[in-house]
Symmetry: C2
Amino acid sequence: MIKVGLLGCGTVGGGVVQLLRANASYIAARVGAPIDIARVLVRDPSKVRVPELDRGRITTDASAVLDDPTIDVVVEVMGGVDPAREYLGAAIAAGKQIVTANKMLLALHGADLLERARKHGVDLAFEGAVGGGIPVIRVLRDSLASDTIVSLCGIINGTSNYVLTRMRQDGLSFADAVKEAQDKGYAEADPTLDVGGGDAAHKLVVLSMLAFGARLDGARVPTEGIDAVEPIDHAFAERFGFVVKQLAIAKLARDGSALELRVHPALVAKDTALANTSGVLNAVAIEGRALGPCLLSGRGAGDMPTAVSVVADLVDVASAKKSGISGNMTRAIRLGERKLAPMADVETRYYVRFSVFDRPGVLAKITGALGERGVSIEQLVQQGRGTEDVPVDVVMLTHEAKEAAIQAALEVIGKSDYVAHAPRMIRVH
Amino acid sequence: MIKVGLLGCGTVGGGVVQLLRANASYIAARVGAPIDIARVLVRDPSKVRVPELDRGRITTDASAVLDDPTIDVVVEVMGGVDPAREYLGAAIAAGKQIVTANKMLLALHGADLLERARKHGVDLAFEGAVGGGIPVIRVLRDSLASDTIVSLCGIINGTSNYVLTRMRQDGLSFADAVKEAQDKGYAEADPTLDVGGGDAAHKLVVLSMLAFGARLDGARVPTEGIDAVEPIDHAFAERFGFVVKQLAIAKLARDGSALELRVHPALVAKDTALANTSGVLNAVAIEGRALGPCLLSGRGAGDMPTAVSVVADLVDVASAKKSGISGNMTRAIRLGERKLAPMADVETRYYVRFSVFDRPGVLAKITGALGERGVSIEQLVQQGRGTEDVPVDVVMLTHEAKEAAIQAALEVIGKSDYVAHAPRMIRVH
C-alpha cells in the first residue's frame, strides 16, 4: 500500500481522487501496490465536494500530513506560493516523494525544490504544472536521455489563445473576447496574469529548467501581453499568410551558451500545426538535435486534464517508492547556471504597422529610419489612401534584425510628426 | 553495468550506438549504471559503418547474443518478421529485457510477444515501432494509468503524407510525387507498403493493441491506399475547406465493445493541426475520456528520430533492470479479445465525385439513388458544363451515412450509362 497525503481538494484534487478510484485495479497492477489517499488537507472541510472521498480522512492540520511517517507521497494541488513552499520543503526533508501541479511555485523556487529533492533522495514530479494533460514534462525528461533540446516554443496559456482565436475568427474586440472567456470560465475575474503573459512566463521557466538544465528560479522573462493586438493586426497578418499567436519561446542563443527566453504575441505561418492550435488548446513545439521537431498539443487547462497528469506522476513516484528506487528521477537532473540573453540581442523578423499621414516623402522617411539601423523591408502594404490629415495604415514585414535596432528605429519614427500614434510591432516567428 | 545485445546495425542501430555514446554520462546517472553495447549481431560485418563501435564486439552468430547469460537487454533493430521473431522469443525465454522497433513483427505477433514477456517477467518496449521520435507509445501506456482512450487517429506513414502534400501544394501527379519521394530517400523502390496503406495498418494495430488493450495479432484492417486520389480531388477538397490526408483510425464503436479500425484517405478540415501536418511529418491524435483531445506530431520516420525512441526505451528497461523491477512495464498490460466492427457499419460523411454526361434528369437520378439508401446531400458543386457526350465533374458532400449504404448507391450509379466511369469516394473525417 502506498499512502498519499493530498494537499488541497478543489477541482483538480477532486479529479485526482476520482481517477484513482476509477482506475484502481490498473494502477495497483502497474505500481505493484494499491494507492490509498490517507489524508486530505483543506482549509474548509465544508467546501469539499468529492463524493468518492472518505470524509474521515479530511484534516485542516498540515502536520497531520507532513509529520505522519506512514505517508509516502505528498500530492500538492493547493496552488499559490505560500504555504505550499513551506509544506513541500518539510515533506522533502521528511523523505516523502512529491507530486505538484503548482506552476507559480516552480517558476519561483523549482530549481531549489529539485535540488533539495535530489539531496534527500526523493522524487519530485510536476507534469500537471504545464500544459494540463499534455505530457510535455515527461517528454522533455525522457528526451534528455538521448538528445539535446535546441529550442521550445509553446502556446501555453489557454485564455490568451482563446481570446486571440475569437478575435481572429469572429472579429470580436479584445475586451469582448476577454469578457466571453470570463463568462465561460476560461478566464479569471482579473485576467491580467493570463492575457498579460505572466502565467505563460511562469510555465516557460518550468519547461526551460528541465529542457536546458538551467537554474532559473525567479528569472525575469521579457514578457508582452496580447492586449495591444488589434483586430486590424489579425487582418493584416492573414493577408501576409500568418496568424497572431501568443508564444512562449526558449532557445539556446547562437553561441550555444546563453538562453533566450521570451513571451509575446507573434506572427505564425498559417499552414503550421502551431497556427492551427485554436481556442483553449495548448501546444508545445520542441526541437531536439537528434529528434528534430516534435509538437504536443491538447487541452492546456481544465481540471480533468491536469488531474490526468497528476495521477500519471503519482503512478510513477509510487512505482519507484514501491520498488525502492525513489530519487532516481531527480538524481539524473543536474541544474547549472545559464546566462539569459538580453532581449536587445534577439534577432527575428518583424511586422510593423504605422498610422501615417499621407504626405510626400513619408515612406522614404520611415524606410530610411529603419534602413539606417540595418532593418530592411521585405514586404509593404498600404491600406487605402489617407490624406495629409487623415492617417492611413502602412504595414511592413522586415527581414531579420536585432531587437535593439527595430526598437531604436520605432522610437524615432514614433516621435515624428508624420505618424498619428506610436507604431505597433509584432515579432514574426 | 547493463549489458546490451544489439540485433542489427544499420542506420537505426548506428544511431543508437552514437546516441548512447554522446549522452553516456546523463544515461548512467539516470539508469544508475553505465550501458554497454556488449555484442552486435549483423549479417555482414564488412557493411557496418559505425566508427563509435568496437569492432571486436561484432558477431554473425545469434547465439553469441541470445545464449550469453551476461546480456541483460536485447535491442532489435534488424526489421522483418523472420528471424526477428525467433530471436526475440528466445531472448524472452532467457529472461532478457527487450527493446524493438519492428512494426511488422509487432503487428503480426505483438500480443503474443507481450504475453510471453509478461509470463517471463521481462519488459518489452517498442516506442521506435511507430511514429519515429514521437513518444506516442509512452503516452498511451502512461495514459492508461488514469484514463480510457476513446479514439485515435493518425498520419503515420510519412511517405504517403509527403506524396499527398506535394500533390496538393505543388500540383504534382501521383506518379511524379512518388518518384520524387523515392529520389529523396523517403520511399522504397517498391512503394506499395507505404502508399497502399499496409505500413500504416501495421502501425495502427500496434497502437490499438496498447490503446484499447486488444489482442489484434494479424488483424485484417480495412485498408485503402492513396493511389486513387487525383489532383482534382485535392482541388475540390480545398474548395469545401478540407485537405486530403491518409489517416489510420481506431475507435470504440458506439456500443463501446467492438473496435473500428481502418486506413484510408480522408478529407480533414483545413484549420486543424492534423490537416497542417505536412511533408514527411507524422501526427497522432488521441482522445481520452478524461484527457480530452491530445495531438503528438514530429518526424515519423528517419533513422535518428527512431534511434531517439529506441534509446529512451533502453533507458527505461535498463533502469528497471538495475533496480530489480523488470517486468512491471508488461505486468500492467492485460490484453483481451475485441471484436472488430465490420467496415459496412462505419458511419461517416462522404465526398463523392461523379463524372457525368450532362443529360436531363441526371442529377435527379444520382441524388435519387443515394436518397433511396438513406444518403442525403449536404453540398453539391458542378464544375463547368458538360454535354451529352463530354462528361463533367459533379462533386457532393453527404451527411452521415453507413458505409454499406454509400457503397450500394455508388455501385448502382457506377453501372448506369449517365456516368463516364466509376464514382470516386473519399470519407470525411
